[in-house]
Amino acid sequence: MSLPAFLLLASALFSVGLYGALSQQSIVMIMMGLELMVNAVIVGAAAFWFHTSPDRGDGQVIVLLAVTAMAIEMAVGFAVTTAIFRSRDVDMTDMATDLKG
């Protein structure tokens, strides 16, 4: 249960989430990928707290921040999905390319 083991787990979760966020077409599946990436941040921050600075609360505060970011991401993501689905019947990213540069 060393720090590198935890960081390897976090790297694996982050990479899986990155694959999902890049490859999926459905907006909700992309949000799942993003959540996996934030989950990696939670594991990494908790491990850093435990192994490098257990005497300070900073690592725990980062975990709380990541949990909140996850909740906000999902709420706003679903609101945006609802808005774009209602106005244009779009539920895939390939159909919403307005901002494509």
Binding site: S11, M29, F50, V76, F78, T81, M92
Partner: protein, 187 residues
């Protein structure tokens, strides 16, 4: 010793269920695979003497994934997984980027001489978190509260079909609301 075994079991299962999210045929199954991944990852957090944060993540994720399952079934094709489903674009490129990222991160993890700490562990990590949030990290808590409030406002604005500004005008100046269908009390 048993902690090590438990950690590796949780870690392998967290990654495996995370991969399953993008491999299974139905959106509902994907949601619950993601839930399993979160719970196993929270299990590793519990092993780090962080009972409050671990349980918080588990409880929050159960609620979040149940809400997500509802949205899945509302919006997505093939919620029950009765036929094979793949909705991907640029799969090979994404896979290459993801594997490359993992190799980069893993080599960094294994090659870096990580610091260790001999500082005393707090008796009650939850107390430590509470004191940090109510003391030196109060600003974080304030910003999080504001961000959550802003989220509530903007999700309601985004998700509302027709609000009072659509009905009564931008300055709420109309006597009678502009509705697509006449009717209602007194109209």
């Amino acid at each position: 010793m048993w902690r090590d075994v438990l950690f590796w079991v949780c870690a392998v299962l967290a990654v495996a269920t995370g991969v399953a999210v993008f491999r299974v045929d139905s959106m509902a199954r994907a949601t619950f695979a993601l839930l399993a991944s979160f719970i196993f990852a929270a299990g590793t957090v519990l092993l780090l003497d962080l009972p409050y944060l671990g349980v918080l993540v588990i409880l929050m994720m159960i609620m979040e994934m149940v809400v997500m399952a509802v949205f899945m079934i509302m919006y997505m094709m093939n919620p029950a997984g009765l036929m094979p489903m793949t909705m991907v674009h640029n799969q090979k490129g994404s896979l290459a980027i993801a594997v490359g990222t993992f190799v980069l991160l893993a080599s960094g993890v294994l090659l870096t001489p990580w610091p260790t700490s001999s500082a005393p562990r707090p008796e009650d990590p939850t107390m430590q978190l509470g004191e940090a949030l109510m003391g030196s990290k109060m600003l974080v808590m304030i910003v999080l509260g504001l961000a959550l409030f802003a989220t509530m406002v903007c999700t309601v604005v985004l998700a509302t079909h027709r609000g009072r500004y659509d009905r009564y005008g931008d300055r709420l100046e109309r006597e009678r609301p502009r509705d697509p269908i006449r009717g209602g009390l007194g109209r």
